[in-house]
Symmetry: C2
């Protein structure tokens, strides 16, 4: 391999990076061509438009992670069942052009006869394991659907999905709570946010705690501009309430705006965290590419 | 009082009943003129249109419960703080025309420095206490915002609100789960519903359990027509998970379609229930009227 073209192809965005053999990220590009914007059969063309110049270079390898490997994507790359390590992931690549373009599979696991899935986060977690040289612990990837990934000896043992980002958006924009809130979220109100996080620890269910965003406003105990931060604290706090080990340090992986919010929430609960950004994706894909040589 | 005009004026509907001195419901009418459809100052006119013929009769008393007494209603009737019995409620009526037309106040209570409120349900609970001759227990009023009301010695000690109906509707119609579901809910699938109720007991949070409606479909372990019932079971099951006394019989008050669903969920968890319908409202307002004589 001369260089790697690393592709993070999500539902609503497409990011690509050109990575040198030694792991240096040489160039990055991003667009809004998430898989939902791509018609059936249109994936090769969109990839060509985005980084055709890189693909034309000799001896290049292209690895795609994320929803490109889903049923609605380029082609379905079957989930790799947990526990799964880096080598199982590498063996399960779905090749589109042998030796040149491959889809990284997602992971699946099972709790109480109910399956769970992720796609794209597996690359970030393996990237974080490599970057931090940390082979055990809890890796949290906040987002529309947050993923809590349990890693032991460098292998993903299990994980759980929380619909936190999506439920926040629904409550924020479409529920009765929206009526009392300003149009824009504004900057995070740290005090209201941590109050929400703490209230979520005692309430036992978001179905119940969410109504407090209404009553606190109704009784003039919280100002309208603070309500979105409070609600965000309730939702993230509910997710954090589910930690199995409340004292263990957590690794956060994602966009800084989100990881900072989770770090603040964890801090309010007396829990340490470390954060990583998009570099985890590039590192994960690069490490995968190296195993193929 | 010659007869009572009992008015149950909610957010989206208006129901009225003409009740004889002895408690017999002589006549009932319903319309879609909930308070959201009434312009400021328009309440007297809508009431006149709905039951002006009854109001014109001599020596009639009109009691209105529900959102008509809210800030967005006819006039705000301040919440009566818990613990509150029937006599506190009667003393706290907000008279629009002294001796002739009054608004019934809602109740407020407080848990961990967070207030909670209800409006309209207090009349149903006091009606149920009278109808069932049951002065202690848990009274559950399912709906958009379900209320769990704790009664001891005929007085409301405290209550809690769950945004179950609203969260179900948001997840059902606007979340990623909606994409996998049929357009209409169809008849309740008892098996899928109780599976959801049971899964909610172990999952610890709806943020997590809700995603199982997606993965079960993704892995072809649940057919699309069963998904709305399963999701309904997850949401109602989450509410039931919060019961403080899991063995105590529960009194359900509300529309039969909803109370039947809750009764089925409770049964699946080995808990008995009794159900009451709209008669609880009329009985509560009638009993209030009798105390004014």
């Amino acid at each position: 391999m001369n260089h790697l073209i690393a592709v993070d192809w999500g539902t609503s965005s497409l990011r690509v990076a050109r990575i040198a053999r030694d792991g240096t990220v040489l160039d990055q590009r991003a667009s809004a061509r998430g898989i939902l914007t791509v018609p059936a059969g249109g994936f090769p063309e969109v990839l060509q438009e985005t980084c055709g110049d890189w693909l034309d270079e000799p001896d290049s390898l292209c690895l795609l992670s994320g929803m490109a490997g889903s049923r609605q994507g380029w082609r379905e790359a079957p989930y790799c069942p947990c526990p799964a390590g880096f080598s199982e992931l590498a063996r399960s690549l779905a090749w589109i052009e042998p030796g040149r373009i491959a889809l990284v599979p997602g992971l699946s696991c099972e709790h109480d006869d109910v399956p769970d899935v992720l796609r794209g986060e597996e690359v970030q977690v393996f990237g974080a394991i490599a970057l931090l040289r940390q082979r055990d612990g809890v890796f949290v990837l906040p987002g529309t659907h947050s993923k809590w990934v349990h890693v032991a000896e460098g292998r993903v043992q299990s994980f759980a999905t929380f619909m936190s980002g999506e439920v926040y958006a629904l409550l924020r924009q479409h529920s009765i709570l929206a009526r009392m809130m300003p149009a824009d979220d504004g900057a995070l109100d740290d005090e209201a946010f941590t109050r929400g996080v703490r209230h979520a620890q005692d309430s036992g269910s978001l179905l119940r705690s969410a109504f407090s965003a209404r009553t606190l406003a109704l009784f003039d105990r919280m100002a309208a501009p603070a309500l979105p931060s409070y609600l965000s604290g309730l939702v993230i706090g509910e997710e954090l309430r589910m930690r199995s080990d409340t004292s263990a340090e957590v690794v956060l992986i994602g966009a800084p705006a989100l990881t900072q919010r989770y770090a603040l929430a964890l801090q309010a609960l007396g829990c340490e965290s470390r954060s990583l950004g998009p570099e985890a994706t590039w590192r994960g894909l690069w490490a995968l590419a190296r195993t193929l040589e």
